[in-house]
Symmetry: C3
Subunit: 343 residues, 3 copies
Amino acid sequence: MAKLQQLAELVGGQIQGDPDLDIQRLSSIEQAQEGDITFVANPKFLPRLKECRASAVIVAPAMKANAQNLLIVANPYLAFAKILTFLQVPERPVRGVMAGALVAESAVLAEDVTIYPGCIVGEDVEIGAGTTLLPGVIIYDGVRIGRDCLLHAAVVVREGCRLGDRVILQPAAVIGSDGFGFAPDGSSYFKIPQVGIVELEDDVEIGSCSCIDRAALGVTRISRGTKIDNLVQIAHNVEIGEDTILCAQVGLAGSTKLGRHCTFGGHVVAAGHVKVGDNVTIGGRGGITGDVEGNQVLSGLPLQPHKDWLKMSSTLPKLPQMRKEIQQLKKQIEVLEAKLKEA
Amino acid sequence: MAKLQQLAELVGGQIQGDPDLDIQRLSSIEQAQEGDITFVANPKFLPRLKECRASAVIVAPAMKANAQNLLIVANPYLAFAKILTFLQVPERPVRGVMAGALVAESAVLAEDVTIYPGCIVGEDVEIGAGTTLLPGVIIYDGVRIGRDCLLHAAVVVREGCRLGDRVILQPAAVIGSDGFGFAPDGSSYFKIPQVGIVELEDDVEIGSCSCIDRAALGVTRISRGTKIDNLVQIAHNVEIGEDTILCAQVGLAGSTKLGRHCTFGGHVVAAGHVKVGDNVTIGGRGGITGDVEGNQVLSGLPLQPHKDWLKMSSTLPKLPQMRKEIQQLKKQIEVLEAKLKEA
Amino acid sequence: MAKLQQLAELVGGQIQGDPDLDIQRLSSIEQAQEGDITFVANPKFLPRLKECRASAVIVAPAMKANAQNLLIVANPYLAFAKILTFLQVPERPVRGVMAGALVAESAVLAEDVTIYPGCIVGEDVEIGAGTTLLPGVIIYDGVRIGRDCLLHAAVVVREGCRLGDRVILQPAAVIGSDGFGFAPDGSSYFKIPQVGIVELEDDVEIGSCSCIDRAALGVTRISRGTKIDNLVQIAHNVEIGEDTILCAQVGLAGSTKLGRHCTFGGHVVAAGHVKVGDNVTIGGRGGITGDVEGNQVLSGLPLQPHKDWLKMSSTLPKLPQMRKEIQQLKKQIEVLEAKLKEA
């Protein structure tokens, strides 16, 4: 619980109404009860406030919101995230190495580390202050993990990989599996050892069952602040810039380099050894087959500017009709040509 | 082992032949031996019975099957499933909390629960009668699991999620991972806490390495009887109706609502915040970009009626030829126009 | 460390330079230091040797490499893989059944097996000599595992499945999950028990979070030498020939048969019950909807010869323009027809 005034200070906002109001929790417009605060990030949802039972509403300065208590802030969506974190995300308890966890003697744990039962931590691992390993996390030898990280159940981090501070790994994420490399040896294949590592920089988040392969030689790098959704494949020696967003089931082939602040929709794929510039947005199911310049919004396979792709895409169903028309035109022209010859 | 008569009673069928026949097991037409029962679900496979060594055959009434012992039933495929279950699926042993499992003292287990070694069950968890947790299952705090569920090895169910009765989770399924939500904060991203839950209703099955994300606020709901294959991504706040089938590697973005009795082929994707009606079938690799009315069979991106898509799809390879023809037609028309001017 | 002479003998190569040279490790051209060996698999990278600090270079006979010490060999890429394995892949220690592992009494372990903490091995399992189970591997009852296999953390192998020799499973791979089979029972579905198994033959490698479903009846078979990348879905009763390569996120539907020495790019999908011949290469995102003859390089959905697909694909963005041109041609022809009538 918090006073409305406290929340306003948290997000740097102005209050219109009662600063002493007690706020229990943050809820959606539809589910809010008395004592709740809700938010309007998009003015088109303002009419829904009529039926809303929330005691306070987070809005932007320009919004005309009909409610008794307003918390006015430049970025309501960000304020929503911060207030929700403050009100409803419990502090993780610090519990040390719990019974049922196995930590190698050579591992070095900083203060306030929590390691749940079923975790196995290998030789020469280093874990920074305040980091939590939930049940069943497996850390191979020689891994370095920074401060205040949260590794969910059944996560695997293989040998020698490095995690920065505040890294979050959702359940069953796999960091440092072997890159997929084989040298043809006659008609069979000889495994190329993958002796590189993965480095996840500060504030990276990796989704459930996503796989970040270790480099063949060198480093597969996910830079600061990049967020990766579930079931994503990052092949060996990929490098991803800062603050990039990859949605679920994206697949990046080996040695591809992405810039900073890119956003890829679900199921986007990239061929290997291509370079993508900064600030590139690619719509879901897009396919990257060659280098891409920065500052573009693209879709499709082949990639096109998103607006052009929409046009192309809406024309596709007309393809059989177009084919018929071309046959028809051919016949008409033949008739015309014949007539002209006669003439 | 069972008498043929017993099996007929199990599936409500008629016997033509010896009701006292001993049946050992159910086999495919090709692999059946003496003592086996086999089945013909599609009349086109009837000729294969000639070479078949099975002692009895499950067929539909209209089928003219040349075999000594027939079990005649309206739905042979369903009868096959029921007889196979009866003959060859062993009862799961009830073994209690086994050595090597860690169950919090506050957890409430009903009778006949089995929890294998390597499982970790958190605080205030409730598990219904007859439910089995195979090795290495991890249940976070506050989870409620119904009766007769089967959770395979390495499954993770995160805090507060709810499972109905007879839910089956294949190995390494992840229930309740964080939804993928971030609020832009300058050029970086601020994590939006995902404080909602996942609810899997009765008779839901989730495949290996499939990820069902918890809601940001509220509930991600998979309704009764829905079956989800491997490596499927269900984003936060998705709602799926009853008896829907999602094949492998489908991806549904946030807040999308599917109706009941839909069937999606492999690799189908759906954008966020769209609504799909009941009884919608979407062919493999289809892409949903907007609302879809019920009772349709669609394919492609953009979606088209499946038959139209087949036509479009078979025209695609002719595209370069069509382009050439258009250039050719242009030239012919120029010639015609010139001639007409002359004339 | 090794003498250059030793490495030449390992890969059957010739030395030009000092055979007594001490080689510390193998590195990429860019990162090599004094004491390192590097390699040039593609002559286009030869100019980079100018700036390279490596003490020796692996090259093909035809390459004109400007370096003091050369190891000349027919297949430099294969030599690179073999030398990297020799120099930098440490032998796995043999440690027996370690404390914290649970192995059923009825399990039969050959000599030199290593089973790490957190592993659970079921009844009647057989494990061959020299095989290693890393932490948290779960083996259900009745599984047979061959010699010199490496099962990474959190791998699950379900009941009755069989692994040949030298099989490698990356972390969280799931072998033998239930095939996705349901018989319609009114508008609901009745689960078809999946009583078959998975067989992985010798030298198979399966990637992280890949799922190989057990057969309904019979065997899902991955033949000798086949390599499967991360997040791949192999449905029940699929059969894959020898030395085939499947890249990440490929999905093969039920009962599909692939030949030997095929190569599928990322996100390729195949419908069920189709047959693909030997030596078929399919580009990323390709879609197999019917049988495919051997010895082809194909792309797209529908599949086309790769070169034709490239042409088709580059024509796609011109589709709206083509449609306009057809409308334009129609009008021109109408005008011509009218003029001719007048004439």
